[in-house]
């Protein structure tokens, strides 16, 4: 029997160990480098490779496990984010949409957007925004897309949007680009700011109307201004303002602009305006409701019937001074409940403005009267402060005292026209008038050229409410009258002297007796 090669024994033992998992086992290679050594080398190298691969796989498995753990964590976080996003998306009071950027097709819309536009989700998903004509102004959408391309986000873009029912609302939109599975989408958030804009406009209108009181030259201009301002919210083609006279229950129409009718005044009793004033509340009524009131006998047909009628009483505090009315002869949707609210809101301001304007006009008339009286008076009139500083003088002042108005105004009257020897008396007069006493004296005053003039003075305090604000003085030149008196007295003296000194007997008899 051939003796077995001992290396075969080593190889078998090594294979057994390697099979048992001891991959560090190595077979000694002899210097022969023959087939047996070749087999041993192959087994050694395979063991090395297997060990290396196992280590490698263990590392890879560990990395894979780490990656899986991370992915699971991210997935959980994503799941949370998705839930949060989904909740925000669905419960947001703002309309939120996701549409494809390239063709504008809606991928998702929330409930608020359905409510906002009037379209249902089913109607919108899968259809492009262009199909609904929602952008009232397409150039704004172009601007939005341009900004998105440039910055990736667009914030607070205002635009008008057309709803399903055809009405236009003012919207505020913010948008950003969203990448979903490699496809660019548009995430857009829209808010209806129509009411806010209207409220701002109403504030502006109230401010403008309030300002118009001072900026308009008369009541008619104020009415035109009110019509124009309200016209920026609703149609004011047919518009009138009526003043109500409670005494005789009539309405006068200082401003009446109408396509069909023309009135100046009418009894309030059987009119819709009168009905509104009686009920003391604004009214929005369509023709059918108006007909019902006519049939019930509450009101009578006055003028051309309108399709819709909107009016509000004009009040100062609790007193109704008139009414403001708009009506439309063709479109029964021309006015809405919101317009009614707005009209109710602004009517108090309008009432106040009209009343203020009326008061302004009255003051202007009074002022005109005063001007005529002051400047046209043949007497010299002086207005001074309570301390005697001249505020105003009329043209007669210059004639009497020689001082032009611009020379006199701002000076103290006692220092300007009172001779030195009359200063004490003048001060006494001033004090009396300053205390609210009316005075009337005859005295001497001084002309600019130094001449002394005999004058009568009538001083009257000017009181507004309970407060004295100045003094009103009227000066009259009595020099001629005094001279005439003196001459008369001298003539009588002479006559009396000649009578008593006459050598003849002179009798004076009353012939009537």
């Amino acid at each position: 029997m051939k003796k077995e090669d001992p290396r075969i024994e080593s190889i078998l033992a090594a294979i057994t160990k390697i099979a048992a998992g001891d991959l560090d086992t190595r077979i000694e290679i002899s210097d022969a480098l023959d087939e047996t050594d070749g087999i041993a080398t192959g087994i050694n190298m395979l063991a090395e490779e297997v060990k290396h691969r196992i280590v490698q796989h263990e590392d890879e498995n560990k990395q894979l496990n780490d990656t899986i753990a991370q992915l699971q964590k991210v997935k959980a976080q994503l799941s949370d984010s998705e839930q949060i996003f989904s909740q925000v998306f669905q419960t947001s009071p703002d309309g939120i949409t996701i549409s494809r950027l390239d063709d504008g097709v809606f991928v998702e819309v929330n409930k608020s957007f359905e409510t906002l536009t009037g379209y249902t989700k089913d109607e919108m998903i899968g259809h492009a925004v262009y199909e609904f004509g929602m952008w009232a102004d397409k150039s704004v959408r172009d601007k939005l897309l341009e900004e998105l391309k440039e910055k990736g986000v667009c914030v607070n873009l205002e635009s008008d949007f057309k709803l399903k029912n055809g009405s236009i609302v003012r919207g505020l939109m913010s948008a950003s680009i969203l990448n979903i599975n490699g496809v660019q989408h548009l995430l857009a958030i829209s808010r209806d700011i129509t009411d806010r804009k209207k409220a701002e406009r109403v504030q502006q209108i109230m401010y403008n109307i309030s300002n118009a009181v001072n900026l308009t030259k008369d009541m008619n201009e104020l009415f035109l201004s009110i019509q124009k301002e309200l016209g920026s919210i609703f149609d004011t083609t047919n518009f009138f303002i009526a003043f109500y006279n409670k005494e005789n229950d009539t309405l006068t129409l200082p401003f009446f602009v109408d396509e069909k009718d023309s009135f100046e005044a009418f009894p309030a009793k059987k009119t819709l305006t009168g009905y509104m004033i009686r009920n003391d509340r604004p009214i929005l009524m369509k023709d059918l409701d108006i007909s019902k009131l006519v049939k019930s006998g509450e009101i009578e047909d006055v003028g051309t019937p309108s399709k819709i009628w909107l009016g509000a009483p004009l009040k100062i505090k609790d007193e109704i001074i008139g009414a403001l009315v708009v009506q439309h002869y063709e479109d029964e949707l021309a006015y809405t409940e919101k317009d009614l609210e707005i009209l109710q809101f602004v009517s108090s301001q309008i009432g106040l403005s009209i009343e203020t304007k009326r008061a302004h006009d009255d003051v202007n008339v009074e002022k005109a009267y005063f001007e005529q009286l002051f400047e046209g008076s043949p007497e010299t009139i002086v207005l001074t402060s309570n301390h005697g500083k001249m505020i105003r003088v009329n043209s007669e002042f210059e004639k009497l005292f020689g001082y032009a108005p611009e020379e006199a105004i701002g000076n103290y009257i006692d220092e300007l026209i009172v001779p030195n020897n009359h200063l004490r008396e003048a001060r006494s007069i001033s004090r009396k008038v300053a205390k609210g006493e009316k005075i009337q004296v005859e005295t001497v005053r001084r002309h600019k050229d130094g001449r002394q003039i005999l004058v009568s003075i009538m001083g009257t305090p000017i009181v507004i409410g309970s407060k004295q604000v100045g003094v009103y003085g009227i000066y009259r030149n009595i020099t001629d009258r005094k001279k005439a008196d003196m001459a008369l007295r001298e003539s009588e003296e002479k006559r009396r002297n000649s009578l008593y000194s006459s050598p003849d007997a002179i009798t004076v008899s009353d012939l009537r007796a």
């Binding site: 290679i29 080398t41 090395e48």
Partner: protein
């Protein structure tokens, strides 16, 4: 003619007049990672500074090559230095080593086994710079 023949801790490296590199080892050589790194350094700094060159490696006298050494021979660095390798084998052990090197280790350059140097040179000449 052998040019710049250099000794390494486990063998010799040189370049002939045609530009072929040669590497051989004494009988019973056991190659470790240190030997492989030393060889790579000599190839890069002495013979292949300006271009990749083909090499003829006589592995007939090698007894073992460690796993780490084999990884150096199949590394990117070796691929950037050597354009092709011809392994000269003359016994079962060197054939097994060669097969492992070519089969399991993924080299970054072409590798073939030859029993004769002239055949190896014939194949390698296409890889001269």
């Amino acid at each position: 003619m052998e040019q710049n023949k250099q000794k390494t801790s486990k063998g010799e490296v040189w370049m002939d007049k045609d530009g072929f590199l040669y590497q051989d080892y004494p009988p019973g050589t056991e190659i470790t990672i240190e030997n492989s790194l030393e060889e790579l350094k000599i190839y890069r700094t002495t013979f292949c500074k300006d271009a990749r060159r083909p090499i003829i490696v006589d592995i007939s006298n090698i007894k073992t090559v460690s796993k780490e050494s084999r990884d150096i021979y199949s590394s990117e660095e070796m691929g950037d230095t050597i354009s092709a390798a011809a392994l000269i084998v003359s016994n079962p052990v060197s054939r097994i080593l060669g097969n492992f090197y070519m089969g399991i280790s993924k080299t970054k350059m072409p590798v073939r086994m030859f029993t004769r140097v002239d055949e190896a040179k014939k194949w390698l000449k296409d890889f001269l710079p």
